[in-house]
Symmetry: C2
Subunit: 649 residues, 2 copies
Amino acid sequence: MERNIYLELTPPAQALKIWLDRIDEVCAAPGSEEVDLEQSAGRVASAAILAKRSSPAFHGAAMDGYAVFAPDTYGASTRRPLALAIGKQAWPVNTGQPLPKAANAVVMIEEINQEADAIILEKPVFPWQHVRKTGEDLVETEVILPPGALIGAQEIGALAAGGIMRPQVFKKAKVAILPTGSDLVKLGDANETDLAAGRQLPEFNSLVFSTMLKAAGAEPITLPIAPDDPEEIRRMVWTARDADLILINAGTSAGSHDFSAHVIAGLGELIAHGVSMMPGKPTVLGIASLGERKIPVAGIPGYPVSAWLAISEFVLPLLAHWQKRQPPRPEMMAAFPVKPLPSKPGMEEKLRVKLGIVDGKAWAVPLPRGAGTITSLSRADAILSIPSANEGLDAGKPGLAALLRPRNEIEGALLAIGSHDNTLDLLDSLLRRSHPRFRLTSAHVGSLGGLLALARGQAHLAGSHLLDPETGIYNEGAIRKHLGATPVALIRLVDREQGLIVARGNPLDIRSFENLGGSGIRFINRQKGSGTRVLLDWELKKRGIAPGAIAGYEDEEYTHMNVAQAVLSGRADAGLGVRAAANALGLGFEPVGFEQYDLVIPLAYLQDERVIALLEVIRSREFRDAVDTLGGYDTARTGEIVGTFQGSS
Amino acid sequence: MERNIYLELTPPAQALKIWLDRIDEVCAAPGSEEVDLEQSAGRVASAAILAKRSSPAFHGAAMDGYAVFAPDTYGASTRRPLALAIGKQAWPVNTGQPLPKAANAVVMIEEINQEADAIILEKPVFPWQHVRKTGEDLVETEVILPPGALIGAQEIGALAAGGIMRPQVFKKAKVAILPTGSDLVKLGDANETDLAAGRQLPEFNSLVFSTMLKAAGAEPITLPIAPDDPEEIRRMVWTARDADLILINAGTSAGSHDFSAHVIAGLGELIAHGVSMMPGKPTVLGIASLGERKIPVAGIPGYPVSAWLAISEFVLPLLAHWQKRQPPRPEMMAAFPVKPLPSKPGMEEKLRVKLGIVDGKAWAVPLPRGAGTITSLSRADAILSIPSANEGLDAGKPGLAALLRPRNEIEGALLAIGSHDNTLDLLDSLLRRSHPRFRLTSAHVGSLGGLLALARGQAHLAGSHLLDPETGIYNEGAIRKHLGATPVALIRLVDREQGLIVARGNPLDIRSFENLGGSGIRFINRQKGSGTRVLLDWELKKRGIAPGAIAGYEDEEYTHMNVAQAVLSGRADAGLGVRAAANALGLGFEPVGFEQYDLVIPLAYLQDERVIALLEVIRSREFRDAVDTLGGYDTARTGEIVGTFQGSS
C-alpha cells in the first residue's frame, strides 16, 4: 500500500465542531434509561427530573421543645406569663417529629419554664416559628435536576427526598477500542526477551483510554489486537457495529503501515485527517456506515501522549455532547515558563509542565516534548497550551496551564531546579509520607542551570555540585559568581562517589580516564553546565587529554540514570556518573572520588514551612538509612549547614 | 435520659487536628495491598513505585525511514550525494520498530532519494537522530509514582510502561455507617401514607455518605437502622468492630433523644462534641475501644446539609490523611453577595450559593440557610464560607466560594433574579438541552427585588409582573422608577392566569376576594415586593377590604409553588397564585384574570450569546407547547419585544 498524505491540517476546535455537527445529523445518540438511585452516581439526568413527593412530607419540629397553636400564646409577657396545659395546648416534640394537627408553631425548650402539667411562656410565639413546613425543601412536581445535571452525593440526596428511586439518565455510551499493530502484544502476555529485542510492544493505550472513558461515564470495550492489515482492521471494525463510537488506535499517521485513515474513508466519511495540534497531529475523525448504522469513528494516534490528547480533545467532548453537557474544564493557572519555549506557528502545542509557585509567581518547567514519553504526562502538574497564533512563549509572558492536580497540591510543592541526584526522589517520597501537604518537585537542568534559576527567582532551591578547579572547593565560587544579591544557605545533602560507569564485569577493562582517549571506547557524556561535566573536563585537563580524542564526547544525556542506561543498552561503553546509578542497573563502576552534593536555599525560604519540613526529613535517621542503602553515598555530613553566601549584585 | 449539653464548641480545623493526631497515636491505618493495574484507577500509591523495566525497552525508530550508522553518512552533501546500500548500510524502518544492531540513527523517508537497491543522501546524519533511545521515557529502578500519588489514566500508562502489573496501593478504608432514629425507614420501604403523617422518615443520608466515601476511595458498609436507644446503638457499633472508621448518623445534638455523644464517650474517648461551624455544629468526634481495637468514630448530624458538611470537613480529610494525601481542594472563586449576609461571630458559616458572572463580576445569591434543605446543596454552585471572625459579609466585599461545579458551567450561566414563575424552570431545561454550554440560574426575590438587582448590575435579567395600579400597565412604570440609567428591553415571556388557589373541590366555596375578609378563612400571602402581592393589595383596595381583616395576611411564602403547597398541606385555605401551581398539585383554582409576565433585559446583554440562545428557546415551538401543557398560560405574545425603556438616573 502507498503512503498516505495528510489532508489539510484542521484546527482542533474546528475539526471537533464539524465532526459533532455531522454526528448530530446522521448518528444515533446513546439514548436514556432508568437506573437505581443507588447506582446513579456519575450518571447524567437525560430530562428534567421532577419531585414525586414534597419534602418534608409533613409539618415537623425544627427544634426540640413544645408544639403550640400560636394564637394561644398572644399576650404572654414577662409581666403576664402564660401557662399552656401539656397534652391539651402544648405537646412535647423533638426535632424532626410531626406537629400535632392543632399546632402551628414550636417553642424551644430553652424559652419556657416547665411545670408538672404545663409550660410557662413569657413571650408570644409567631405562627410557623421553628417549624419545617411541608414542602419547605421540595414541592411535589418541582424540578429537582435539570437535564444534563451530573448526579453526585447531594443530587442523590435531593432525588431521595423527592421520592425518586429510579432516575432517568443517559445511557452509557458503548465505546469500542480497537488496538492495531502487528508488533503489539497484550499487556499481560509481554515477555521480557521479546520486549528488549523490540519484537513486541506491550499494548497499554487501551487501558489508558478505558480509564478515561469510564471516568467520563462511558462503557469501554477493548477488542482483540488487529495486525497492520487494512482488511483485518475493517473486519474488526465491523464486529463493533453495536457500539456508539469506535476508536481505532494507531496507524493514523502517514507511514506505509498506517491504514486507519484509509480504512475509515473506505467505511464511510473521512471528516478530518490531521489536526493542527501537537502532540496529537495524526488524529482521524470520521463516520463509518456499518449496515443500518452510522457510527462515529476516530483514529487515535499511537504515541501515548498524542493518544491521551486526542481522547481529551475529541472523544471526551463527544461524550459530553451526547449527555447535553460541556466537558468539565480543569482549573486554570497563569504560569511563566522558566525559559523561552519556541513552538511552530499554526500549531497549537500542548506542553506538559511541572509547576512551582515561588514568591507568589507560578513557574512552569517543561517536561520532555516527545509524544512517546508517557511519563511527561504522569509527572506533569498541568498542560500548558501554546496557541497556534504564537511562535512560542517568552519567559516574561505567562501561558495558561490546565491543572492535572488540585491547586493545593501545587501550592504545597517546593520547586528544585538544578543537578540531578537519585536521593532527590527519595527525599520527595519521605517528605510526602511525613508531610502529605508538601512535596518536592525537581527539574534536572544541571548545577549551573539551577543556580541561574535561583538567581531569577524561579526555584525554591537548587541541587549543586560545582567544583571550582582553582580552589578544589565545591559550589561557593559558583554561587558568588552567579547568584546575584540573593543570600543563600548551602546545606549538605550527601557526599557521593563519582566514577566511570561501565558494563557489568567491565569487559573492556576501562579503569581510568586515560583509557578513554583515542581508544575507540564509546563514551556517553553529560550536558554542559552539569557538575559531572565540569568534573570530567577538569579530570581530562589535569591529564592533558583532548576532548576531541574521546569518541562520544558530544553525545549527551541529562541524568545519571540515562548515562547508566546508555551503557546498559550497549549504546556506550562508559560514562561518568554516581555509583548509585551503576548499582541501580547492576553495572560496573570504577571510582574516581567523592564529591559534595549540596542544596542551595535562599535564606528567605529557610522559614518556609515546606523548607522546614524538608530539612527535618533530610536530618532524619530514615533518610540517611535509605540513602546508605543506595550505595556510593556518605551521609556523615548530611543536613549540615556548610555556610551562608551572597554573590555580588 | 437527660438532655446533653455541648462541650465547648471547638473550631473545626482545631477539632480535626486533635482528632487526627490522636488517631495517629492509637488507631491502626488501613494498610496497603497489591491490586491489578486494570483495577487501580482511583487508588493511591502507598510507597514509591519503581520501574521494573526501561521504556522504551530498545532503541527504536521515531520516524518512518531508513536506519543507518551515522558515521557512514559523514561527508554527504548536495554536491557529493552519498549512496547507502539497502540491506547492508540502510534498513527500512517504520516508527516504533527496533533499529538493527549496526545502526544508530534514522533518516526520514522525506530526506532521501530512493533507488532500487540504495538510498541517496545529500547531507550527513547525526548519531541517534530520530531514534527513541532505550530508557528515554523511564529507566529501570526510576520512581514512576511517589507515595500518595493518585492513580489515573496517565499514571496507569506510566506504570504499564515501567512493567508494573500490580501496583502497591493503600487499602480502601472500611467505613461503617450506622443510621439511628426510631422514626427512620429504609429508603425503599417508605410508604406514602406514613411519610405524609410523619410516622416515617425515609433514611437517605447513608446513601449520600456512601457516594461521598466511594468517591474518596473508601468502602462504605451501611448497617441496619438502630432505634433511639443507647443500648441498641452501642450494640450495633460493636458489630462494626472490623471497620476502620465508624459513623453514627444523627442523635448528635443536645435533645433528649440524642445519644450519640453519650454512646461515643461511653465506648472510649470523646474528643469533640460540637464545632463552631454552621451547618454542622452538632458534630461529634471520638475514638471507640472495641475489644483489641481502637477505632475512630464520628457522630454525624442528622440534617442532610449538616451531615454533608461534617463528612466533607472531618471524614474526607481523615481518609486523605490515611492515604498520605491532602484532601483535594475545589476550585475557588471570589464572589460578591447580592445582599449583606449577617452571620454569628465565632461561628464559621457555610452558605450554599448560586453564582452568576455579570460583566466580569461574580455574584453569589444565597440559597435557604436551613440545614434540613438538601436542595440548598443540590442547587448550589458553590459553598461560600463566612469566617468565624466575621459578623457576616457585606455586599461590597467578596467572599471565597468553593465551587461545586466546573467553572465553565458557571461562566455559561445567565443569572435571573426576580419574580418566580414555573416557566423559568422549563426555559432552563430547554436551554440546557439545545445549548449545553448555557443555563439559566434563577433566584426568586419578587419582581421589585429583581429590578433593583438589575439596577445594581447583579443579574443578567429579571422576571417581572408589576402592575401599575394607576395606569393598569405592567412593568413600565416600575422600570422607569427603579432601573436608573440602564436602558432595558421588555420581552414578553407569557401571559398568565392569576387566581385564588384553594383546596381540591373548593370545600369552603371561596369564589372571590370578598370571601376572604373577616371570614376566618386562613389566607397564605406572598412576600412584599412580589408582583402577586402588588396585585392582591390592589384588588383588596379596589374592594375596600382591609388587610387586617384577612387571617394569615402576615403569613408569607416566596413562590407560587410554596403557596400551593401551603393550601395542599391544610396550613392555609387560600392563596393568590398562578393556575399552573394549582394544576401541578391538583388543587382548586378561582381565576382572577390574566397578567403580563415579562423578562427585563438590559439592552447591553441582547448581543450576549447566552441571551441570544435564550431568546431562541423562548421563541421556539417546543417552549410554547410545553408552557401550554402546564395550563393557565397564554403564549400568543411569547417572545415579543414589548418595548425598550430607560429610567431616570
